[in-house]
Amino acid sequence: MKKDHPGYSIRIIGLGNSMRGDDAVGLLAARRLRQDLGDRAEVTEAEMAGVDIVELIKGVGVAILIDAARSGQRPGTIHRFDASTRPIRVGMFPSSSHALGVSEALELARVLGVLPKAVIVYGIEVGHTEAGQPLSPQVAKALDEVVGLVIQECEACHA
């Protein structure tokens, strides 16, 4: 079905670092969504993807990205941004000296003319990001919520 209607294809991309505590939340959400959504969406766990996000979203109808965020709000807060027509808040999403953050990668895709028609970004406010730690309880709770929200998002696309 996805191949027959490429304009409505949905790709979900979970971002983060699996070994850095709450920073893994986007990856864990993607893993859950792959089970829950089956063939209703393509799901990718893109650990530290950076500029490769441009390639991952190329050619799909709807891209939904899930990443750790840090804006000073309490851990577990869920942010939703629509990046389809304008830039989202730079600075909230993690990046490194080599990996573009999600907001920068989306702007690069926009400049290069390969941004999908609909791009939704979920950011989950993190607490601890120390190496080797599990998710903190608030972020684990937010993980459940964000999985539900993304499923609703997908259902709306298919409706």
């Binding site: 850095r20 950076g50 500029v51 750790a68 690069l108 290069l112």
Partner: protein
């Protein structure tokens, strides 16, 4: 003689606006003199050294691949070669070629990202790769496609490009069919031509005059440009086996950083593409030499800003080498050499995109890691970066604080440091102090 106390300046500039920082530069200036340069870098390998203790040797390649999102193959290659030294295994023939090929993929990917997205904007006057992409869409698209060609090699051989999973002690968990490798050829031929254009483009940039007196350090192999094997050589004439690394290179703690600084007999030194190109120039291909001659680029390159030229040379070399290795590939009879575990200590050094990466493991009779030591290229270049900033800063002191900080960031970027490759959160901050 003036009685005045020279003025102390303090400047704090967030170079990358992030909430939590793990990398920072602090510069103290007194009058016209640079007093202190302190580069603080968070180093993920320190955590991993402890994390590896008590793990079975066959888990090591997957664990170390997670240290760095941009150079997982380097960590895997240093690890498997060190462990193979303990078990008395030598990987030869097609398996050796495949390891060289997957490393080529990583160099292409890592260098293309740095050349096009991170450093070219500095020379063309843009604040970022995104800003540059608006005016230079064709160039940036070419750079991303080059990077993707490297990704494709890593994905085919490694199972995936980030955190590849197929590298094992003894070889690979799966090796490709001949036709699978041949499937890469068309894109790699395009990429080779694009790499020639890249060298031409990069060597035409304007570079600041800056020639510090360096000791270069790289691997050197008698027959080939180095990836996984060779002696450690320095431009001072020093030649060592990899097992002698720790006798000459020492890590020491500095008060301002959790990262260790590594020095060669007490002095800073440089590893990475510039060092590699200079110390191995006889192994560059005729095409590389021709393109450099056409552009009037003479080796050795002694200016750290020319690191971007060295990277573009290595992209071209790695593409030619990939095509050569694919051309002669015959699948090996077994994907991996058989292993019989025995206790011992093994060391290896391989050429990560950013320079030599040293690993040492001690393993017991059950194949359990008792001790691990990892010396990444960035910790080796750290003292050299500080030294170069100290030399470069006097020409920046007349600038407003913000511009001077940006210039410092450009100097730091020449070394392509992995400031927080594996941390995902980065706050690179430069401070200049001003006060009485």
């Amino acid at each position: 003689m003036s009685e005045e106390t020279p003025q102390m300046r303090t400047i704090a500039v967030d170079l990358v606006a992030r909430v939590e920082g793990e990398g920072a530069l602090r510069v103290t200036v007194k009058g016209d003199t640079v007093q202190d340069v302190e580069l603080r870098i968070f180093e993920p390998p320190r955590f991993f050294e402890a994390f590896l203790q008590g793990r079975h040797y066959d888990e090591v390649p997957d664990i170390v691949a997670r240290i760095c999102g941009i150079c997982p193959i380097a960590y895997q290659m240093s690890a498997v070669h060190a462990l193979e030294q303990i078990f008395g295994i030598r990987v030869e023939g097609a398996l050796r070629d495949l390891r060289r090929l997957i490393y080529c993929g990583e160099w292409i990917e890592s260098h293309a990202l740095h050349v096009y997205m991170l450093q070219a904007p500095d020379f063309l006057g843009y604040e970022s790769g995104i800003a540059m992409a608006k005016d230079h869409t064709v160039m940036v698209t070419r750079g991303l496609r080059l990077k993707k060609a490297g990704n494709a090699i890593m994905t085919l051989l490694g199972g995936r490009s980030v955190h590849p999973v197929s590298v094992t002690v003894g070889g690979f968990s799966r090796v490709p069919l001949r036709r699978e490798l041949e499937g890469l050829k068309d894109e790699l031929l395009w990429a080779r031509d694009a790499a020639v254009e890249t060298v031409r483009w990069i060597s035409g940039f304007d570079y600041p005059e800056f020639v510090p007196d360096y000791t270069y350090v790289a691997l050197r192999h008698p027959d080939e440009y180095p990836f996984n094997e060779g002696q450690i050589v320095a431009s001072s004439g020093l030649q060592l086996t990899v097992n002698e690394f720790e006798e000459h290179f020492t890590e020491h703690q500095v008060t301002y950083s959790t990262a260790l600084h590594c020095t060669l007999q007490g002095s800073p030194y440089l590893v990475g593409p510039l060092a590699r190109v200079n110390l191995n120039r006889e192994h560059l291909t005729p095409l590389v030499k021709q393109v450099l001659a056409d552009q009037g680029v003479a080796l050795p390159l002694r200016n750290p800003f020319h690191g971007i030229i060295a990277r573009s040379i290595e992209i071209l070399y790695a593409l030619e080498e990939s095509l050569r290795l694919i051309e002669r590939y015959e699948p090996p009879p077994m994907p991996s050499a058989p292993i019989s575990v025995r206790p011992g200590t093994g060391m290896a050094c391989t050429e990560a995109p950013r320079g030599i990466l040293y690993h040492r493991y001690e393993v017991d009779g059950d194949g359990i890691v008792r001790e691990a030591k990892i010396v990444p290229p960035t910790s080796q270049n750290q003292s050299r970066i500080e030294q170069d900033l100290r030399l470069f800063l006097p020409r920046l002191l007349h600038l407003p604080d913000k511009e001077a900080a940006l210039e410092c960031e450009r100097v730091i970027r020449c070394y392509d440091p992995c400031i927080s490759c594996a941390t995902h959160f980065l706050n690179l901050e430069i401070k200049r102090e001003r006060g009485m």
